[in-house]
């Protein structure tokens, strides 16, 4: 057992681990159905069986990732109470509405995924495609609703805080706390971007090994448009989001930028001694002479862990910039060549960029969570007040760490076997979902 770690830290570590794990599967659950439906639709339009095969492969990937996402999401909904009972006891009613609507979206997602995966032989092609669309829409809706809860924690509204908890609760106001439009757009884009980059990276890897593989060129032509579009939109949405943080959560912004002294016309520090004059004032407020509050203007006990927030933010912005650059180059080549490019140099770049979407997603999530500390509900409830009185929290923390390591490795292995079965020269008889199943219970 690590010495000196308190139960609060173990609780935070367990919640953080569970979220970091779940977020990958949640993002895939949002985005893979879109890619799966796109391939399905391309198959219906062109009659090319490769697109059907691609959509079936993506459906299997969705099935595996959604199952892990569903159970790790269940872990989280229990952990809200198991780790933060005081938070739920006081604010459960304030944030119950978006959670309930997320439940509805989870329901329709699971229902139509069941029909899409197991019903190909049982329903008409139109209903089948419609089910795929419903899975994609439900996935986006559920990410939207759950992000609203996070917006509330960052920027709580819709209640009056008293010593014994919230009164005058207005759930609809709380559900759309200030900044909700930026945060939900930022999160949804990151889901599509991370998944599309990961998919492009996998197929770039195979094309480097087997340059002639037609199937993988087609797969790339499905992933690249979404990857490029999201990579270019994300910096714009991220900028709006940062401007909102600058107005509403100045401490978080100061930590993100490692900005200690309040300054008019603050420069942007890019690291390595390079400063962009007035850069931070422009980025944060759209005004070169705007005043940017520094950390020293805030009481020390309301500072987030500055170094962590700063590094996570740099990682997010850095990877995001690299991805936007790659998208520009790829689109340029696409425009010049009138087809999605797959030259070796570019494929190497996409292979390297493959994991960057997930890296940026995790880093961005760390920025918002670490950046809100020491609060669980900013300004009204400290994380330490919310934690469970149950002792020995090291035990569940290490248990879940081991379980998630095991599951993560297994998922990678099983997914890789799915991909490997599409390699040129791979033996047929790939794993298949039984399409003639039947279900019990009415």
């Amino acid at each position: 057992m690590l010495m000196g770690m308190t139960d609060l830290l173990y609780a935070r570590a367990q919640m953080g681990l569970s979220l970091a794990f779940h977020i990958v599967f949640a993002a895939a659950g949002v985005a893979l159905p879109v890619l799966m439906v796109l391939s399905d639709w391309k198959h219906r339009r062109t009659g090319d069986p490769d697109y059907r095969k691609l959509s079936e492969k993506l459906a299997k990937g969705t099935a595996i990732l959604f199952a892990v996402g569903a159970v790790s999401g269940t872990v989280l909904s229990f952990e809200l109470g198991l780790l933060w009972p005081e938070f739920m006891g006081r604010y459960g009613e304030v944030i119950g509405l978006p959670f309930s609507l997320e439940g509805v979206a989870f329901f329709t997602e699971a229902i139509f995924l069941g029909i899409y995966l197991y019903g190909r032989e049982r329903v008409s092609p139109g209903l089948h495609l419609f089910s795929g669309v419903m899975v994609a829409v439900s996935g986006a809706a559920s990410a939207f609703f759950v992000t609203l809860v996070n917006t509330f924690m960052n920027n709580p509204s819709g209640f009056t805080a008293t010593a014994s908890g919230p009164t005058d609760v207005q759930p609809l106001v709380a559900m759309f706390s200030p900044g909700w439009q930026y945060q939900t757009a930022h999160v949804l884009l990151s889901c599509y971007q991370a998944s599309a980059f990961a998919m492009a990276g996998i197929h770039a890897f195979i094309l480097l090994k087997h340059p002639g593989a037609a199937f993988h060129k087609k797969a790339l032509s499905v992933a690249l448009p979404l990857a490029c579009l999201t990579a270019l939109l994300q910096p714009l949405v991220g900028d709006l989001s940062a401007k909102h943080v600058a107005r509403e959560q100045p401490v978080k912004l100061a930590a993100m930028e490692g900005h200690f002294e309040t300054q008019v016309g603050a420069p942007l520090r890019l690291g390595g001694g390079i400063d962009v004059p007035k850069g931070l004032s422009i980025l944060a407020f759209g005004d070169p002479n705007a005043e940017v509050k520094g950390l020293n203007d805030f009481p020390r006990d309301t500072w987030p862990p500055v170094a962590k927030v700063h590094v996570a933010f740099q990682v997010m912005v850095g990877t995001g910039s690299l991805m936007a650059l790659l998208a520009l180059v790829t689109l340029w080549r696409r425009w010049r060549g009138r087809a999605w490019p797959h030259g070796r140099g570019l494929m190497r770049a996409w292979l390297v960029a493959g994991p960057l979407g997930l890296v940026a997603l995790e880093a961005g999530w760390l920025v918002t969570e670490w950046g809100r500390q020491p609060w669980i509900v900013r300004g009204v409830m400290r994380t330490g007040e919310a934690v469970t009185p149950v002792p020995h929290l090291a035990a569940p923390f290490f248990t879940f760490t081991a379980v998630y390591l095991f599951l993560g490795v297994t998922v990678l292995f099983v997914l890789w076997r799915q991909v490997a079965s599409t390699l040129p020269g791979a033996p047929p008889g790939a794993p298949s979902v039984d399409g003639k199943g039947s279900a019990h219970a009415h």
């Binding site: 199952a67 459960g92 509405l97 069941g114 019903g119 199943g437």
Partner: protein, 339 residues
Amino acid sequence: MPTEVVLGLAVAGTFVLYALLGGADFGGGVWDLLAMGPRKAEQRALISRAIGPVWEVNHVWLIVGLVLLFSGFPRAFAALSVALHVPLTLLVLGIVFRGTAFTFRAYDTRGDAVERRWGVLFSVASVVAPLLLGMCVGAVASDTIRMQGHAVVSGFFASWTSPFALAVGVLTLGLFAFLAAVYLTHEAHTPELAEDFRRRALVTGGLLFPLAFGVLLLSREGAPRVWTGLSQTSVALALHGGTAVAAVAAFALLWTRRFRAARVAAATQAGLIVLGWAVSQAPYLVYPALTLRSAAASPTVQKLLLVALAVGAVLVVPSLVLLFRVFRPQPPGAPPSPT
């Protein structure tokens, strides 16, 4: 009817549906573990086919119940999460291994040995999870969770490890296994397979009688309010009587091989047992500290939650009907029919 009572009924309703649908999926795992005889492989294949398209959907009832509980009765959710931290954590681990192992078994195709290993994990988790779920229910029903203000003062183990709570755990496991066996008689493609599960249903159904009787006897000491509630109030007595009638009917219908009707009777029996618990519990969520009224969210929240429930039902109910129609059991030998 006061809104908090409607909301309480909605929570109870999600528990009933979770028991009938999600519970039967756990029961399927139990029969996977206990698969035997000449048709061992066919039994497992049938269970896998039956659960595959629906287990995630059925699982959502638990999430909905949980969300309604913490949104509608936040103080009760907080207290139960503290008092039952240990068994709930173990339950969640069971849920994780059941779901992932079932999925990996279908997609990790490195041969029979690997498939079997995932199968063992899936089925063992399917046994452990209902036991723990039942023990949590037993802990709540036994009124042994004590509070001072908002703090739980009755410890982290005593409430769910009492003989009564353990007995409720075993009863829950038996009930889920019984439901699965009855449903599977109707799902089976061949008469032989239907017979396999008919025998299993009759044996577990028979075991449920002494099990339920044992729980009732233990409740005199272990859960006195359940004992008086079940044996005294008229609503509880009616529910009790209904359960007994449904149980006998399920037995008779299984005996005479009317599987379709047996399914309805078994589901009625299980549903009434869960409702019976809810009624004997009312109006307390955690006795004596928290009632439906004292733990309820503010009236605005309650009303909006009911609206969200109604909106959700408009979307979810037709979708569920479609799902169950697409995957309804088909007569032996019939070709799959497009819907």
